[in-house]
């Protein structure tokens, strides 16, 4: 965002590559360590090779308040199998070494606090990671993270919601780096039959506050919904549907669902969001 060297942002670069191809970017969420560390790497690589521009690797956490039942079940299973937070760096490195995708880590804040914000950031950067998506960290509390992310050149993806006031929207957009995560509805993660009309308003408000890249997540599960969002946002985030596919059909199912989702990315009008809009 404003004030940062845009070229340094891996997430922004990945989104801009998609934009230059006249389409929105696809962001695929997968939990680290589910169903195993090896399979989560394989799933990330499969997603990246079948149309995902960015991969979002979730850290399994004991108290995931923004997640619905499918992701809760997957991350609880990963923890039960003995997943450790430091293994997320193996997953990130495993994917970045095999693909061109930008790899972000999605994490609740306490595991980062426990490791130390600087140490976590240093290791993430060392693994080739692009940055962090932080569902329970707002810019108001992000002093240490602002500092560490600058130091290691990492993206800061904060969330904005339908309930965000204009003041908070501005503050969050200003604090973000890479892209802004627009929560499509008031709720937790999980597939839904239709995309809320609130999503478009949130994206519009984020653009109005100066965000150049806004990606929409929560409730997106099929190519039709991807197409709908690709018409007004720079990126589309799919999580629960991919996690379910991975659980039901393994890595091959992730590959085929990603391929299918990516058919929705091309903007039918052919118009692209102008930088700085």
């Amino acid at each position: 965002m404003a004030g940062h060297a845009e070229t340094a942002s891996k997430a922004a670069a990945a989104i801009d590559r998609a934009r230059s191809q006249g389409r929105a970017a696809l962001i695929a969420y997968l939990p680290a360590g589910y169903p195993s560390v090896e399979d989560s790497i394989a799933a990330g690589i499969a997603a990246a090779r079948n149309g995902a521009d960015l991969i979002e690797i979730g850290i399994p956490y004991s108290d995931p308040v923004m997640d619905g039942q499918v992701i809760q079940a997957a991350t609880t299973e990963a923890l039960a199998k003995g997943f450790h937070v430091s293994q997320v760096f193996d997953v990130v490195a495993g994917i970045t070494s095999q693909t061109d995708a930008a790899v972000l880590v999605m994490t609740y804040w306490n595991p980062v606090v426990r490791m130390g914000v600087d140490e976590f950031s240093r290791r993430l950067a060392g693994a080739g990671g692009a940055g962090l998506i932080t569902p329970d960290l707002i810019p108001d509390e992000a002093g240490e993270w602002m500092e560490a992310s600058e130091k290691y050149g990492l993206d800061r993806v904060f969330l904005v919601a339908p309930s965000s006031t204009p003041e908070r929207m501005q503050r969050t957009v200003d604090a973000s780096r890479g892209f802004v995560y627009a929560v499509s509805i008031m709720g937790v993660t999980g597939a839904r039959s239709s995309v809320s009309s609130a999503a478009k308003d949130v994206v519009s408000a984020a653009h109005g506050a100066g965000a150049e890249r806004v990606c929409v997540g929560l409730g997106v599960s099929n190519a039709g919904q991807v197409r709908e969002i690709a018409a007004y946002a720079e990126g589309v985030i799919v999580g629960t549907a991919l996690v379910k596919a991975l659980g039901d059909g393994g890595v091959d199912a992730v590959a085929s669902l990603t391929k299918d989702l990516s058919t929705g990315l091309t903007r039918e009008t052919g118009s692209t969001q102008e930088a700085g809009a």
Partner: protein
């Protein structure tokens, strides 16, 4: 102050207190390095609305009159301050006074907070409240307030707790609440809070989350304390009236810490009054099966606040253990973390066994059956009194200790009967007791 500030406290504030400044009425969002709002953006607008509504209400004589009226004519306040003369003989001879929150309507201090928050919910035009509960005390109190004020009420409760506390589930349902068993995560109180937060995110336009303790995101810690400050204010005035002087020590139990912060608040600025918070030591802190968050936890963020937290090396929350469901929580309110760091309050663990001994002692010496939670404070008071005696036997009999008797033990009779092996092996009650049922 006998103790020096320690840890990573906000030393400016600690210094200010030591130089005669005030620790009372800390407004949040931060208490030294603790507190704040570690919450999804989706909920920040609701927290802002709550904070604004609360701040306006606090300054509104009409609101304060409503609270005073409910406290007097519904809850039965002021609660008594009862001297426990026979119990005192076991506390090194110190005179022990009990602040009788057990005599409030619904049987504990919880009513103070639920009435205040339910009024705020109505002020915000919300028609539905949600709450979490462990054993059911806060759930019952929330259902009570909802019934009184005509609000819809949904209570989240761990599935295992629902089974063990079947009668409290029935009690909430009698009061018109809907109880939802929580099957996510470890299926305990912390997961009930998680599910309540998920509900709140999805229904925030109609719903107020009536959090039951002085923890969580700002403004909850300062707001819940505000509604419980009446405990400390009454206790301070009562001991001055009855004895003409301040107590030497005040003891309270700590789970999230709402009853403790309520009574401590009245004495925070009285340096001569030693304050003690007693955490649940479970099977013993050396066993790992406990809920001694401040004693053994490390700072972290959970449920919206930075505070001491029981967590592993990965920052995953560790499950807590206590015979007392009301103390069985791996977190603690942020103001307590701060008061510990600056040395104003001493926090110590009390084992299940010590608490149960104190439970039986109060039953037999005073004819009062205390809640298992409050029994931790009683056990702590015995230790404090014995320490006074060890320091100076001659003056021990002149020492005054106030214990916040935060709740009554009717709900705990089956657990206690099982603990003390009072039940016929073949009785239905024995079967219930084995399941940990609290009647």
């Amino acid at each position: 102050m006998a103790q020096a500030p320690s840890g990573n406290a906000d030393n400016n504030t600690a210094e200010a207190f030591l130089q005669g400044g005030s620790l009372r009425h800390a407004p949040g969002p931060y208490f030294g390095n603790y507190g704040g709002r570690w919450m999804p953006e989706s909920l920040i607008a609701a927290l802002d609305e709550l904070e604004e509504t609360f701040n306006k209400a606090k300054d509104d004589p009409g609101f304060r009159a409503q609270i005073a009226d409910l406290n007097k004519n519904y809850s039965g306040r002021p609660s008594l301050l009862t001297e426990a003369k026979r119990f005192s003989q076991h506390a090194g001879g110190a005179r022990v006074f009990l602040k009788r929150e057990d005599l409030n309507h619904t049987g504990s201090h919880k009513i103070n907070n639920v009435l205040g928050q339910a009024l705020l919910a109505k002020r915000m035009g919300k028609t539905r409240i949600i709450a979490e509960t462990g054993a059911g005390q806060h759930g019952v109190a929330s259902a009570t307030a909802a019934a009184l004020m005509g609000l819809e009420c949904v209570v989240y409760m761990g599935a295992e707790d629902c089974r063990r506390q079947a009668l409290n589930v029935a009690r909430m349902e009698l009061l018109g609440a809907k109880v939802i068993p929580v099957t996510s995560g470890s299926q305990t109180l912390k997961d009930a809070i998680n599910d309540a937060l998920r509900d709140w995110v999805a229904n925030v336009s109609t719903t107020h989350y009536l959090l039951g303790t002085a923890a969580g995101a700002h403004p909850f810690p300062a707001m819940v304390r505000y509604f419980h400050e009446v405990i400390g204010e009454e206790a301070r005035a009562q001991i001055l009236e009855q004895e003409g002087r301040l107590p030497d020590a005040v003891c309270a139990c700590i789970g999230g810490g709402s009853n403790a912060i309520g009574i401590f608040h009245g004495f925070l600025d009285d340096p001569s009054v030693k304050l003690f918070g007693f955490e649940a030591g479970g099977d013993g802190v050396e066993t790992g099966r406990h809920a001694a968050t401040i004693t053994l936890g490390k700072p972290g963020v959970l449920h919206g606040a930075r505070s001491y937290l029981m967590q592993d090396d990965d920052g995953q929350t560790i499950e807590s253990h206590s015979i007392s469901a009301g103390l069985d929580y791996p977190g603690v309110g942020p103001e307590h973390s701060y008061l510990s760091d600056i040395g104003r309050v001493s926090y110590e663990p009390i084992t299940d066994s010590e608490a149960m001994d104190a439970f039986r002692l109060l039953c037999r010496t005073e004819g009062i059956i205390p809640a298992l939670e409050s029994s931790h404070a009683l056990a702590g008071a015995i230790k404090v009194g014995q320490r006074f005696a060890a320091e100076d036997a001659a003056s021990a009999g002149e020492k005054i200790i106030i214990v916040n008797l935060s709740g009554r033990g009717d709900k705990d009779v089956a657990t206690a009967a099982e603990w003390f092996d009072l039940l016929d092996k073949n009785s239905a009650e024995s079967e219930i007791g084995k399941e940990g049922e609290q009647l």
